[in-house]
Symmetry: C2
């Protein structure tokens, strides 16, 4: 597989993506290749400094422009046809790449992927599936931001696609699917979830356990949680803010209570925060587009990028998209 990485997009400096690309070489099998896409004048010195022999193992593709993190996605893609993100996804469209990875603007990457790669046959709307680490194992949540105006049929497909995804990535057979709502009873929810529930209940391809609530993310009750992209994105960002807030609050208290143990306490706080560290999971696939597309957190470091390559290789070699098409054609 040839895995392309957008070297420009992200909140971290380009060095993070360069180091991630170099580190990810460990993951490659015979015939696999990493391609860095971005401003070659800026990237060459970084590569040179890290590994002078880089041209033997990494391909560099020049792209003169770059989409900013805060730019309106569609306008940015239109006005910057030579942005690293557009070049990346066009290379994949043209068969030069088998997977694309970016830590740049999520909105722009989703738009570029849909624009150049199009949807898989039978898919209504692509959705981002993120793995949330919990003490009971990972939970795949989909969608977390690709589609903020969902229909029941979209959520239904998220259930199917995410089930395949977590099966492949975490080895969970017959993953339990919950529909995120405001109460477990069937009558609870809004119009969207009530109508989605009817679809999921009747589909033998989904191991549907019914409505679940916000607290169930951490309760070990389900392996897949389906929600619309607005709710999923709010939840995702809330979790990020909350882990920091709770762990840091506890840290302050303990440091005051036992100053001599500051090191141990700090280590534990760091460790708990890292359990929820997105870098360990390495990016979330955009399920339903015609190609492997991995969206990284804007602040991804080299580990985050390397792990995104791992996910891309894994999903590509296990042929997730072929399996999605085949599953959806059974309707």
């Amino acid at each position: 597989m040839r895995v392309g990485i957008d070297a420009m997009g992200g909140d971290a400096p380009a060095q993070a993506r360069v180091d991630g690309a170099l580190a990810a070489r460990d993951l490659l099998a015979e015939g696999d290749r990493i391609v860095l896409v971005g401003n070659s004048e800026r990237l060459q010195p970084l590569l040179e400094a890290s590994d002078p022999a880089w041209p033997e193992t990494i391909d560099l593709r020049h792209a003169s422009e770059e989409v900013g993190m805060q730019e309106p996605p569609v306008e940015a893609l239109r006005s910057k046809p030579d942005s690293s993100m557009s070049v990346l996804t066009r290379m994949q469209r043209d068969g030069e790449l088998d997977a694309s990875i970016s830590a740049g603007s999520t909105g722009a990457f989703v738009a570029a992927s849909q624009m150049y790669l199009r949807r898989l046959r039978g898919v209504h709307r692509p959705g981002i599936a993120i793995l949330t680490p919990t003490f009971h194992g990972p939970v795949a949540m989909c969608d977390v931001g690709a589609n903020v105006n969902c229909r029941p049929s979209h959520l239904h497909q998220y259930a199917l696609m995410s089930s395949l995804y977590i099966q492949m990535i975490a080895g969970i057979d017959s993953p339990r699917v919950g529909l995120l709502s405001v109460g477990e009873e069937e009558g609870k929810g809004n119009e969207l979830t009530k109508r989605t529930l009817e679809l999921l209940k009747c589909d033998p391809r989904v191991n549907f356990i019914g409505n679940v609530e916000g607290r169930d993310v951490f309760g070990g009750t389900c392996d897949v949680m389906v929600c619309d992209g607005f709710v999923g994105n709010v939840v995702l960002k809330l979790m990020e803010g909350m882990v920091q807030s709770v762990a840091m609050g506890l840290l302050e208290m303990l440091k005051a209570a036992m100053p001599a143990q500051e090191q141990t306490v700090q280590g534990a706080a760091r460790s708990i925060i890292s359990r929820y560290d997105f870098n360990d999971y390495g990016g979330a696939p955009l399920l339903g587009v015609n190609g492997i597309v991995i969206i990284c957190h804007g602040a991804s470091d080299n580990r985050g990028i390397k792990n995104a390559v791992r996910v891309a290789l894994d999903l590509g070699k296990r042929q997730i998209n072929e399996k999605i098409i085949s599953m959806l054609s059974q309707e």
Copy 2:
């Protein structure tokens, strides 16, 4: 003021509400009175055991039925006209009470309040406003579950009503109002939030700071966060589950790392969990109904009930409903 408490509803035993009612007598001024509503045969022995002189300070009103926590709200209210919840809200409608408090089924309590008390003049839909404790001070989030199919005008009114609420309860002048969405930029969001943003931007009565994200709950960026009841309820339950999960995880790690300090560590974990303890805040007002209605967490203990009485007295004496009517009439 006469404050009525539903003694039957809730996940905790009735003793919790009885003890809460007895404890809340400390808060009463001359002329204030607490009324417990529920099965008097079951309640009398509990009151007797705690304070044999109870009839001098507490009124007991018999109600023969009780709405279960899992019953469909409207059906339960219809089939049980003598439920403690219905009796409570009817007493308030008839002028026998100035405030109602229940830890029973939120859906049923919201339905009973709307059925018997009706809405305040000018209010489109009542909303539940909950105070979320953070390290930067409390944030009022509205709605967290009364209204799962919101319109922009509903969210607009939640911004106005919650601003008054947090001003009264936390003394915050000109509270900063954020609209919960998936990005700070104006163009981000779903149809509901985009249209709500246009309303809030143009209203000089609201100190509107624009869109906020999930992580802003803990960031100290706003004092009021407005969202539809579906999103708010998911967020609320997620926070509950997450505090437990993060704090307990950290506790386990630290107990293993320094067994000698188990006491201190456990104390800190308990303390951090209690910072997020709903019992300290004592229930959330249902803003927009024609009366003071305080919704308690199902698991409320005696502190939770006592604090709910505090909130009821505070909002009643500061005439929140008169101020809501007056503010909405300025449109």
